[in-house]
């Protein structure tokens, strides 16, 4: 009795399979068509470019955000050895005291405002 039921179920499954396969193939084709029109294959969200108040982009101890990011990015060549930051900063005419002040000041602004963080990231990664 169980065998006949299994056979009937299998027949039902076989009957349904072509439709399922067609739908799956259509899904694949639709996804490919959407990707071709610029819809990303995987959902992606990036921080929005938001205007930052001018006073939050004022240089700190003479170090503007772009320079701060570029000196920071220079640390990658030294395996992020922070002690090298002063040397890198010096090549751009920034003394140690100014650099230390800039690090503390920009860190505070970056932590307080995601838009500043976004701009720093853009400069750091060269997307600015």
């Amino acid at each position: 009795m169980g065998l006949f039921k299994q056979m009937k179920d299998m027949k039902t499954m076989v009957g349904a399979a072509p439709g399922l396969m067609d739908q799956a193939n259509q899904l694949t084709a639709n996804a490919a068509a959407m990707q071709a029109q610029g819809v990303p294959a995987t959902p992606y969200m990036a921080a929005q470019e938001v205007a930052v108040p001018a006073e939050q982009l004022e240089p700190i101890a003479g170090v503007d955000l772009a320079t701060f990011a570029q000196v920071s990015a220079g640390l990658a060549a030294y395996n992020y050895d922070t002690s090298k930051a002063v040397e890198i900063a010096a090549t751009r005419g920034i003394d140690e005291v100014s650099w230390t002040t800039a690090v503390d000041g920009w860190n505070a602004r970056i932590a307080a405002n995601p838009a500043v963080a976004k701009q720093f990231n853009n400069h750091y990664t060269g997307r600015a």
């Binding site: 399979a17 396969m21 701060f68 922070t82 930051a85 920009w106 860190n107 976004k118």
Partner: protein, 130 residues
Amino acid sequence: MFKDLNTLSKQSKAMAKTHDVGADLASMQSKLENLNQSMAVVANGQAITHGTMATATIMSVAQGGAMINFQPSCTVELLVTLPGRPPIPVTKTEIIPAIFLARAQPGQQVSIKVMPHDLNDLFIDWAAPV
């Protein structure tokens, strides 16, 4: 029944023509390997127990294809800020618990624990307040 088996066999062959099962399995294997590599750094590292507590700002989130226990694998770009040193971008692949997905938004800050000498050894503490 033999006719049905024959039909199934034909359908399998038809599927094989339009669907590369081997490539799908290889892709799955690759995703799992990447995920395991990313998790192994933290699982075998010291950040969870000995890491410096800090904050990071989420720069971007991209959802990968993998789901573990119905929770998505995501690639998260962070800007890590540690006291006394400039911020550094770090990218992590994470299984983000469903209840914390709302926190995984660009611009949000998250609590982290990180080994200062190895920023890849970084644990995102989704549950901790910032």
